[in-house]
């Protein structure tokens, strides 16, 4: 039976695979960072689709809160990774 949480859960697995493929096969740091972000989005999607079906009408708020912090941590990690990449490039040029 195809239900909403199964559709989005499997999409999350697919996104994780696409991101992983990009993260290990690209040579450019920026492309890798982008791919890891896609990977992270897939993990979040898997987690939240598991929260979709609960007893009542409302979804489970605990995974939502964890993914919310996850999104913010992901963007800070991205910022740090981009700054590291820029510093490395500066070291290459010098």
């Amino acid at each position: 039976m195809l239900t909403t949480e199964i559709i989005y859960g499997l999409t999350g697995v697919g996104l994780f695979a696409i991101g992983l493929r990009g993260a290990v096969s690209h040579a450019s740091a920026l492309a890798r960072i982008l791919a890891i972000n896609v990977c992270g989005a897939g993990v979040f999607l898997v987690f939240v689709s598991s929260a979709y079906r609960t007893l009542g009408e409302a979804a489970d708020p605990v995974p939502h809160a964890l993914v919310l912090t996850g999104i913010v941590v992901a963007v800070s990690a991205t910022a740090l990774a981009l700054a590291l990449g820029r510093r490395l490039k500066g070291a290459d040029d010098a």
């Binding site: 489970d60 919310l68 910022a79 590291l84």
Partner: protein, 326 residues
Amino acid sequence: MNALLWIVLDLLLAGLLLGLAWAAVMTRDLKRGVVLFIAFGLLLAVAWARLRAPDLALAEAAIGAGIAGALLLAALRDEPPIEERALGSHAIRDRRLLDIGIVALAGVVGWALLDALTYGEGGQLAAAVREQLALSGVSHPVTAVLLNFRAYDTLLELAVILTAVLGVLALGPARASYRHAGSVLRSLIRGLVPVLMVTAGYLLWVGAHAPGGAFQAGATLAAVGVLLRLGGDDRAGLPATRALRWLLVAGVGVFVLVGLLVTVAGLAVLQYPKDWAGALILLIETAATLSIAAALALAYLGGRPVGWDPSPAAHASLKQKVSDRC
């Protein structure tokens, strides 16, 4: 609406997400990849809304698509033009083996997920949150989990943001500034900045009883910084260095302070007294909003803003003072 139509819509959205992600990751043109990634983030926000997670939809639109997209676009400036990039963009030689491995991994994970999703009732945690919600000081369950039931997680997460921004600050000066905005962008900025600031305040306040809260508000406020930076402001609207340092640590600082102060009243660390819970949560969230906004705006600058490092003269006098003392 009937169930079949929803399934068709879900499948359409899922297909678009996968297609955009594939195109964004596999393209050799980085600029194209970043723009596709931003579009992907916006569609993901729709998927969150569909999964009954409006908090995540707001956060994804503001942070995942907005701020992360702005960070990646800014980083594109450091990349060489396409024709100068090494042509063999693949670092791994045997790609077929890699593809088989990844497909196998996805198959196993997908199978485990299907098994997990169809197993049992689940939702015990959701029921526990619903039972205790009245004690939390707020009426929105996600905010109750973030700032009360699992406050430790959120405190540590603010510490992660602070650590990341310290790393960015340590790695070098900010990128060169943009040229000053033309009149069209300038009037757009003039109109948007107040609207964004009011929206951030609203999101912060409304988090107590509806989707919203410190993260969405902080990201919206950081968007003000991004706009100002695009308009030619070197410091992205951030305050002077001393005030900026306080802003960056305010989130973690106020959180820890509140968490420890309640122990004076004989409660556990981060266990708020029931009558004060709502006010304390708002206090912590306000500090967190300011810290997150400052951290994300600094991240967009990409390093130490102008005026962060002491001027050569001040640096020399500081050195003199230290050597006098030794």
